[in-house]
Amino acid sequence: MKSVLARADSISGRILGGVSLFLLTLLISPALSLAQEDLSHSWFNTHRVNMLVFLLVFFALIIYFIERAKKGKSLFIRRIAGLDAIEEAVGRATEMGRPVLFISGIEDVDNIQTVASMIILGNVAKMVAQYDTPLFVPICRPFVVPVAEERVKEGYASAGRPDAYNRDNVRYISDEQFAYAAGVNGIMLRDRPAANLMFGSFYAESLMLAETGFLTGAIQVAGTANIHQLPFFIVACDYTIIGEELFATSAYLSREAKLLGSLKGSDLAKAIIMGLLALGAVLETAGITGFTRWFFIE
């Protein structure tokens, strides 16, 4: 757990570094490309001031709440209903004596949804270790395999069952999207897991996976931030964690300062956006258009 958190710590440090570097690049590059004949007047793109203000406000809120969380201040997050569904799914698999299948999406470890999925995987691994239920984790990307192995191993260790950990249950299938879906479908049809947990980034294979799981009679809980795939999970799964709830679930389960702080910061940013929206609508109705024009991106 500590090594995974340490890794997340170094990753987030790099994220902040990368963001500041590329923010500067992205702000400057349009100006440079548009005004190559006179670079001396193009070091700052004034058409992107609104984006800069928003980014600075968001970053300030997130960093503020991360620091509050690090100091041990209590940050309230409401319990996500999908957490009960995960526990129910694992319990059902235990009663039926059949395995749990955890699918972490098809994106690589640098995708934030995959990171959230790995955090949930650790908690699921702890649950199945307590109940002695087999856990299968088919992986689409090679570099997710060691991360998933470590999360599952730590889950078993924190449940006091390190001997029950089986490395072969975390297996690489294929990088290719539909080959991965075919492989996972085969696992579902042959091993007949009683619970399918699908958390991460999914694309067109989402309906294939969810429908096959439905055919096998498994209880299915899914969560993704890819909005185009949510309808398929909603119709084919017993419970769906929608969009940002996936990140809230991982923050709620891990209680890690950076995740909690980011969630609280984005919550406050959301409240600000709602206020700006209402204010903008009132001003537009009154015929004052300057406020709306400030948010316009050319």
């Binding site: 963001v19 492989g183 909603i234 109705t285 316009f296």
Partner: protein
């Protein structure tokens, strides 16, 4: 259709039917097709990676004398250290660069497209004197209630809970529209495969008889 084409298309038709056979139940034909696509895709992907990424983006520039390309080459090689427990730490600079650059590109882009543009497009004049103004009221209420659903710092109780519930209904309407649109696209893909099978078997019949 020549004999060679007839044979290759025949294999394609057999594999299509093998995959569709799983709609009935798992069987050796589906298993074979599944293992074939997993294996072939791994090999095909490796070749795609070599000819589309490794060769033009590393080998050719190095051959042309642009030796600074060795730096990203070394960073890429260091990623393989992730498979060793002892040397895993060597992959952190590369991972940090990939995640940092990905986030650095994605965050301003997402903010621009999913926040600022949406915000400016949703600040609409409201009223009851015309139908567009009435629909603007609906749009603004639906957007605000959908945002309220994703507010995690307060329990969904009371008035706020009612607003959040309206928000999830709004989301479900949108998801239903998206589902219908995508199902239409999938049916179009099925139609294309059915046309392929029809054309192949008619050509096979003509060739044999």
């Amino acid at each position: 259709m020549g004999t060679t084409e007839l044979i290759w298309n025949g294999i394609a038709a057999l594999l299509v039917l093998s995959i569709y056979s799983f709609l009935y139940k798992d069987n050796p034909f589906y298993k074979f097709a599944e293992h074939l696509v997993v294996g072939v895709s791994a090999g095909y992907f490796a070749m795609i990676l070599y000819y589309n990424a490794f060769l033009p983006k590393l080998i050719n520039p190095l051959r042309a004398g642009e030796y600074w390309y060795i730096i990203p080459g070394i960073l890429g090689l260091l990623m393989w250290a992730r498979f060793s427990r002892k040397w895993q730490w060597l992959s952190r600079p590369t991972l940090g660069f990939v995640i940092g650059s990905g986030a650095g590109v994605a965050i301003p882009l997402y903010l621009q497209n999913y926040v600022l543009r949406q915000l400016s497009a949703t600040m609409l004049p409201v009223g009851v004197s015309s139908w567009p103004q009435i629909t603007n009221i609906l749009i603004i209420i639906m957007v605000l209630s959908a945002l309220a659903y994703f507010y995690f710092s307060k329990e969904h109780t009371g008035v706020f809970g009612g607003v959040a519930k309206f928000g999830i209904w709004t989301l479900m309407v949108g998801f239903g529209a998206g589902f219908g649109m995508t199902v239409m696209g999938r049916v179009a893909l099925l139609a294309e495969r059915v046309v392929f099978l029809r054309d192949y078997f008619s050509q096979l019949w003509n060739a044999v008889f």
